[in-house]
Symmetry: C2
């Protein structure tokens, strides 16, 4: 319906000259720019008469002047913006809920959460791009932030850089979240159920490696040295891909599968059932994320529940780090994973 | 585990004095601030010798200076930031995928998408807060942006304000997306299947009204003047709420339900089946969104597919609007809805 141009965007013409600045407000009100700044930013320490304040506010109103967030942050020495890079894949239900809760909790502490969505940048370039917005705190859920990126952010005024990852990055506060533990728990559970030929689904979609690689590694680790085998299974999130995998299942000789997460597990379990396999008698199936939908299927889907800090907990941690950037980071137990056994395993 | 303070955040101490500015770079390199700005922003029109350029870059590197996005935007007359307010509810699968695609398409056109997450602001306050970030374009998926908000954004340099909503807002480009049509389609389908006592689910969760109200209104509209009745049914997204509704189902005397979307439909259909009702013989069930998971259930879930512009189409529309802010808005057919009948209705 619409054409996507293949050429890069040309240089744009300058913005219309009508964007009002604080200088325009100052001119109209007959005061200095400093006075405009004091009045509109409610700088309490400066004595300015009420009539002058009214004149400045009226001029700003008349011109439709909006202060510049970054300029204000520069004057104040900090912003109230907490920046989160978006994930390289569409957010799943668990992450969407977490972001929603985190955002609500930070809003009630008077911060604004901004999710930053540029893709395809190198690690240091990404941190530099985030730094240009001058956030007071940065929360990074995926990998890809190194010590140099942390240093860039801190030099640009970020008081807290928090990572949700298994390994600590120098200069950042780590909330230790270990996806390998999801794979370890799932594989350990299937082994305890007597299964020895265990498949592990790796989504075929791009950008999932940050989660799927540690889950596979954790499964391998849990079964290392045992009498069980681990077979990597590529699966795209389509009915066709699931049907194809189910069709060649008998040749694989697997008696169990850890299907990456509940969505892939629901898809694969349906295809296995449709192919005439019995779950769990022929194939035990376990997912991860503990979505409610997994409880609606028959057999009910077993899953691995991931222990996550709540949005409120994490917002409070970010707030404390912003207030006391020099305080020693609090130590956390690593967040782990718990098997929820239902009828599919 | 952690304490959430009840008091508002106190004034914070000023940022450490070590945040380097362009003045620091200028001092170290022995040049003017203007020269620093020209060099670091690659202003091609200005002649500056290569040794000077090198000295400025080395000084910026040594100090760890990062340009200020907003200051740069101010000089350039525009930013490359496209701002989207986040929804007041956790994003569902359809919206997550859309945001992911839109962001990817805009990234390839050299824009950055920022999702802005403050909540609980009045309409004009929200637009003013967005304006402070000086976005070049704003895409609003929900309601709540009025003509005054559009004017504030445009005065602050936004070249395009695009709304995804049934009604046009003065000054904004409307991509006409009509949730009422989802309700009209669902109710019309159930009527055509011979059902006359039709329930319409309204989620009990807060913040869903922007979608649920037009869907209910559309269903009422489609059946207005017919021999069918419409009964509003409140349902929370929990198994308990669904079981309670299923338990009182016989007393309601309904022979069909439009269950808001596929997730609520899957939840309610499971509870109805568990309560001994037959789907579709006793109750016809239809959802909306055409999620793949609805095809995994038995009976397969009927649904309403919502016609949405693709992320690429919308990105291209935003880009054209940014390049030609004065061009007349292109007109669109309203995006509608299509029933996908499967086995549950």
């Amino acid at each position: 319906m619409v054409q996507i141009p293949n050429t890069p965007a040309p240089t744009m013409p300058p913005a219309p000259r009508s964007v009002p600045t604080s200088a325009d407000v100052a001119r109209l009100a007959g005061v200095s720019r400093a006075t405009v700044s004091y009045v509109l930013n409610n700088a309490g320490a400066v004595r300015i008469s009420e009539p002058t304040r009214r004149r400045v506010r009226a001029a700003a109103e008349e011109l439709g002047y909006v202060p510049h967030a970054a300029a204000r942050a520069l004057r104040a020495g900090h912003s109230r913006m907490v920046l989160m890079p978006t994930l390289p894949v569409p957010a799943g239900p668990l992450y969407s809920q977490f972001v929603h809760d985190f955002q609500g909790a930070l809003s009630s502490l008077d911060y604004t959460v901004v999710q930053y969505g540029a893709t395809g940048q190198g690690d240091d370039d990404a941190a530099r791009a985030w730094a240009e917005l001058r956030p007071v705190a940065v929360l990074v859920a995926g990998p890809g932030l190194g010590p140099e990126g942390v240093a860039v952010l801190k030099r640009s005024g970020a008081r807290a850089v928090v990572t949700l990852s298994p390994e600590a990055v120098e200069g950042a506060r780590a909330v230790p979240l270990d996806h390998a533990d999801v794979g370890r728990s799932a594989a350990g559970h299937l082994y305890a159920r007597g299964r020895r030929r265990i498949g592990v689904v790796v989504p075929a979609e791009r950008g999932m490696e940050m989660f799927s690689a540690p889950r596979l590694a954790g499964a391998r680790e849990a079964l290392h040295g045992s009498d069980a085998t681990v077979t990597e299974l590529s699966l795209a999130y389509t009915e066709e891909s699931a049907a194809a995998l189910a069709a060649r299942w008998p040749g694989l000789g697997l008696d169990a599968v850890f299907a990456y997460n509940d969505e892939y597990a629901m898809l694969l379990m349906r295809a296995l059932l449709d192919a005439g396999l019995r779950v769990p008698q022929d194939v035990a199936v376990i997912g991860a994320d503990d979505l409610m939908l997994g409880r609606l299927l028959r057999p009910r889907l077993s899953t691995v529940r991931i222990e996550l800090p709540s949005g409120r907990e994490l917002a409070s941690l970010v707030d404390r780090a912003v207030r006391s950037p020099a305080a020693a980071p609090e130590s956390h137990e690593p967040y782990g994973a718990t098997v929820v056994q239902r009828d599919s395993s």
